[in-house]
């Protein structure tokens, strides 16, 4: 093999591996079977707001700094820092700290994570750690992820294990030094289907035990064990005729609390002249109610000693998100983007009908600003 052939082959292998990234396992630009030779620094800012008819609820402003740095030909380190500033009131129903009681909520969350990835002989091994701190909630997590690339680089197998240890100290004194442990196992496969199509499928099991109740919701009493199975499949198709990419995704999730959900999403990434691209997207979500969720009027269905919640997040509903992102890539490896997303939940939008009655419609919008520099 000549030097040129070897370089061409290495370039092809790096390019295809970059397309084989698994979600959450490794960032796309660090997904090669060899460590990437360029670093990334990105800054993102989120402005989130939600409301119900006649009442503004939560506002969250959240800057995030992300960086990926190659340490050597075989090792990368990456990490992010996030600071959320939250104010307002949680959505109705029956939150003792909500605006409904006139008290409102003000909180801050600071979170950070770091991951070191080592590449060797068609494999990648990553070790990660994460920390998140709020006034009333602290979370520590660690993960290990292993990926194996097939010889032709058309298939990637992934396996991951994660553990999180959380502590809850509610500001109203109802939950003090409460603990929660969660263990996650992930199996995944990514397959090149053709020269223009990729598919990936991951199965995640989550086993948790500890304190799951919401101390800010009256009479809220949830089981102390929780098992979640999530199956996520995503498909990307490049469409040469339009110089565009179609992204499709589906997730099925079963929760031992009794609720099941289905999520479908689609996005169309359209390339435009002068380095622009525009991405309209749509997401549909539907879930059934948890086994211990009870419809209004509160506290209908409450029996002392039995699990109970009136938390609308565990009710039966459907939700739709519409999004639009515009990005521009400048010379020198800098990309800037802005996105607007609009989200709405309605009981009547649950697939097949049968949404929980008596709940207020819930809406949210979030605006994103991002800038990324590769070096």
């Amino acid at each position: 093999m000549t030097d040129r052939e070897r370089k061409d082959r290495e370039r092809s292998a790096t390019l295809i591996a970059a397309a084989l990234a698994l979600p959450g396992i490794l960032p796309a630009n660090a997904s090669a079977q060899a460590a990437p030779d360029e670093g990334v620094v990105a800054l993102r800012y989120y402005d989130y707001r939600d409301w119900q008819p006649g009442a503004s609820r939560m506002t969250v402003r959240s800057p995030t700094l992300y960086a990926l740095v190659p340490l050597s030909d075989t090792t990368t380190i990456e990490g992010s820092l996030t600071h959320d500033a939250m104010s307002g009131a949680s959505p109705l129903y029956h939150n003792t700290l909500s605006g409904a009681s006139g008290l409102g909520v003000t909180d801050y969350r600071t979170a950070g994570d770091v991951k070191v990835t080592r590449y060797f002989d068609g494999n990648a091994l990553a070790l990660g750690a994460a920390y998140s701190d709020e006034r009333d909630y602290t979370s520590r997590a660690a993960s290990v992820e292993w990926r194996h690339f097939s010889d032709d680089r058309n298939r990637t197998y992934a396996m991951g294990f994660g553990a999180a240890y959380d502590r809850i100290d509610s500001s109203n004194g109802l939950a003090t030094n409460k603990r929660r442990e969660t263990y996650d196992l992930l199996l995944g496969i990514t397959q090149v289907l053709s020269a223009e199509a990729l598919i990936e499928s991951t199965l995640t099991w989550s086993q948790g035990r500890g304190y799951y109740s919401d101390p800010y919701k009256l009479l809220d009493q949830r089981p102390d064990r929780r098992h979640i199975v999530a199956w996520l499949t995503r498909y990307n198709q490049y469409v040469p005729r339009f110089d565009a990419t179609l992204r499709l995704g589906y997730r099925y999730l079963h929760d031992s609390f009794g609720d099941e959900s289905h999520m479908l999403e689609a996005a169309w990434i359209q390339s435009l002249p002068r380095g622009f691209n525009v991405t309209p997207s749509v997401r549909y979500y539907t879930q059934s109610a948890a086994g211990f969720y009870h419809d209004p009027p509160f506290p209908q269905g409450f029996v002392g000693g039995s699990p109970y919640t009136a938390d609308t997040r565990l009710s039966a509903f459907g939700a739709v998100t519409l999004g639009l992102r515009v990005a521009k890539t400048f010379a020198g490896g800098t990309t800037a983007d802005v996105a607007l997303n609009f989200y709405r939940q309605r009981s009547a939008w649950r697939i097949g009908g049968g949404g929980s009655p008596g709940l207020e419609e819930f809406s949210a919008r979030w605006i994103e600003f991002g800038i990324e520099k590769r070096f």
Binding site: I16, R140, G162, S194, V229, D259, F362
Partner: protein, 88 residues
């Protein structure tokens, strides 16, 4: 229905769904192996486009997932590791 009966039913449901999802995932994985038409190395240029990456923007994906986690019954899939409460 008593609380313990609800819990037993929920646990049975979780185990059944876990088995269903595992079987379905394995079946799909095998099916994809059997039907795809993998390209040669010199045919993979389009696959390397940024738009073809499953997570081309890790911080954006993480933030969006955090929003959904805080507003819907349960979240997960595609990643391992923690990320805080997101309760409000």
């Amino acid at each position: 229905m008593t609380g313990s009966a609800r819990r037993i039913r929920a646990n049975r449901g979780a185990r059944a769904s876990a088995r269903f999802a595992a079987v379905l995932w394995i079946a799909c994985a095998l099916a994809s192996c059997a039907t795809f038409d993998p390209p040669k190395p010199w045919e993979k240029g389009d696959l390397a486009r940024p738009s073809m990456r499953f997570d081309s923007d890790p911080p954006a994906a993480k933030a969006t997932q955090h929003i959904y986690q805080s507003k819907e019954g349960a979240a997960g899939g595609g990643a391992v590791g923690g990320g805080g409460c997101g309760c409000n």
